[in-house]
Amino acid sequence: MEKLFIKETLNSPKVIFDPSKKRYEISGKSFPENSRAFYEPVIDWVKETVASREKVKISFILDYISSSSVISLKQLLAKIKTANESGADIEALWYYDPSDPDIKNIGEEYEKVIGMKLQFIERPA
């Protein structure tokens, strides 16, 4: 599996996919101008991971997700679901702040529309 690093900006999250450290994380605020283009390399990375058969846990630690990013993240999670059906072993860890219902709600909405289980993890205060 290849490494994937994307630097955080004011409107896009940090992406660290580092197989050597078994660290897979998307964190920060997500409202890039073109969310489709932003998440494309992440979706491509998931596609390539199918062949590796390695267990991967991707942490989604997001503080804010704009509506266009909601759609792109849905496409990413749907790709993870498809990859798992083809033999990959990718788990999605969905972190949320208990004092802010938005992020948890978005995760629950994904479970409904994609038909995929996310592992919800409460962020420390």
Partner: protein
């Protein structure tokens, strides 16, 4: 296109949101780009925090502002007309108002009007169902918007928003949306 109509409207709105019990938190009039979206959203967030607005209120306003501004950004790129915009975040007595407007073609204005009129008729449950329906639909536009942004604005403002369409010439209109968020 008569740009003075837009400028006059912006000035009138600033005046309308100034006075006893009222305060303009953030305002901008000019050309739109992604840096502007970030700058205005973070400035509004910071200023609202300084004003002592509740955390939930600040989040709702941040959310609404980004959706309205990105909606302008996405559509201005394709039409080439809508890059000029204005936005105002203001406190008006117990409520916060988020106003944004840009130039759209008359055809686009009709589509947005029809979309917003449909949204206005929905109660909270219908809005949430509509949100899930749109989110579950895979046939998005190439830009990935799918109208989810305007549904989000409606949800975050408890469907308390208004819109206005002002003709600028025979082809273009100024489309303005005002969302209201009580500080509670």
């Amino acid at each position: 296109m008569d740009i003075t109509i837009l400028e006059k409207r912006y000035t009138d709105l600033l005046n309308r949101n100034t006075g006893p019990g009222k305060k303009v938190i953030v305002s901008y009039h000019g050309e739109m780009d992604q840096d502007r979206v970030s700058m205005l959203s973070y400035t509004a967030e910071h200023q609202l925090d300084t004003e002592g607005a509740r955390r939930g209120t600040i989040k709702k306003i941040f959310n609404i502002l980004i959706e309205l501004l990105q909606n302008i950004l996405i559509h201005s790129n394709s039409s080439g007309h809508g890059k000029i915009f204005y936005t105002i975040v203001a406190k008006n007595m117990e409520d916060y108002v988020v106003i944004s407007a840009n130039v759209v073609t008359k055809d686009s204005a009709e589509k947005i009007k029809s979309n917003l009129n449909d949204i206005k008729k929905m109660n909270e449950r219908q809005l949430k169902n509509h949100y899930l329906e749109v989110l579950g639909n895979d046939s998005y536009s190439i830009k990935g918007g799918a109208g989810l942004g305007l549904i989000t604005v409606a949800l975050k403002s408890n469907n308390n928003f208004t819109f206005d369409c002002i003709p600028l010439d025979e082809h273009l209109s100024l489309f303005e949306i005002t969302a209201i968020v009580p500080d509670k």
